[in-house]
Symmetry: C2
Subunit: 186 residues, 2 copies
DNA sequence: CTATTTAGTATCGAGTCAATACCAAATAGG
DNA sequence: CCTATTTGGTATTGACTCGATACTAAATAG
């Protein structure tokens, strides 16, 4: 079966990536999951930076995620901001230090090297394949798709730089439309 | 940068796979890493089933791997067999129960669904892309390539079903040549 | 024949993660 | 309008991960 072979390669890939992440963050005292959360928070939009959104994104329990966020907050990498409308929800914003850390460790050196060793066509193929599989896997998991705001069915392009979210009926700045949204649907 | 986008997709993919693995093994009380080791041991050849080989494969420390193996042994999924020539090394063989467990959980249901949702060409692309990236990443990590014996430069095809390893000067059964070898080199 | 290397184990501490239990705010329904 | 349920989030506990360190025994080098 070729599928089993692909699965094995994917598992191994996942394992190597996780290891590279771990070693990279060792001096900062961060764990792979913590980095994942930080990274997610750095590329998601204002509807998607709540503890519950992170929970859905990671596919873990909210209790687990709550702990991870607590650690990141204690390290001064993120800040909790209360929601103005719903007093239950809070938004997790990256601090300056959080942004610095992300910039410092991305892209992963070895992954970067590996990617540059592929030619242009291989890179394009890889990128496309991974995105396709990711979409299929998220769907199979019953997860939200967590795609870019710009590519969402709720996104309405008024004219020029003016965009609107059909779900929240709020207007979007153009730079917000490239962020990841938990309400994303194709 | 498109590379950053690819890295993010890969990270997320790794994360989702790990979660599926975890949930799948929850009732068996196994952790993702433990499954990874078990899976590796089920597809590696007789030169590559030692604790040190697993250590190189996972890219962790030997102490960490030693613990993982101890757990698997205590659960009756693998057995330690002493090497006949080198009294320091031991070989970890899967028990019947170990094989049963592997068969029970592979392939991962959601990954399987996701893969079948891709068409033939997408699947082929994915498989190829992942293998290419894996090779590049292993190289960038300074890791051994852990490829199939059959595709190794040391593998000598005598005639018909007769193969020889040019490194160990031992003859190989034909079914052994499809296993993964730690000494693999292209 | 000693010195170094290699294979492997044991122990410790910080951290992951699910499960459970809990609280407060928002929403639903008569 | 007022209670019941749902939703967002925190706290605690226990089994497990993982690197660091320290250790033993066997093999190899010089």
């Amino acid at each position: 079966m070729d599928k089993l072979f692909t699965q094995h390669a994917l598992e191994r890939l996942a394992s190597l990536l996780r290891n590279e992440c771990r070693q990279l963050l060792l001096e900062d005292g961060l764990q792979p999951v913590q980095f994942e959360v930080l990274h997610y928070l750095s590329i998601c939009n204002r509807y998607s930076d709540t503890p519950m959104a992170v929970t859905e994104y990671l596919g873990q329990t909210k209790g687990t995620v709550s702990q991870t966020l607590k650690v990141l907050e204690k390290k001064g990498l993120i800040e909790k901001v209360a929601d103005t409308k719903d007093k239950r929800v809070s938004h997790m914003k990256l601090t300056i230090n959080g942004r610095h850390l992300i910039e410092k460790v991305t892209p992963f050196p070895n992954l970067e090297i590996a990617l540059t060793q592929l030619d242009q066509k291989q890179q394009a193929n890889l990128s496309q394949s991974v995105v396709e599989l990711l979409a299929a896997l998220q769907f199979a998991n019953g997860f939200r798709s967590f795609g870019q705001c710009r590519q969402c069915r709720h996104n309405i392009h008024l004219k020029g730089d003016q965009f609107l979210c059909g779900l929240t009926h709020e207007s979007l700045r153009i730079d917000e439309t490239t962020l990841i949204c938990r309400e994303h649907e194709l």
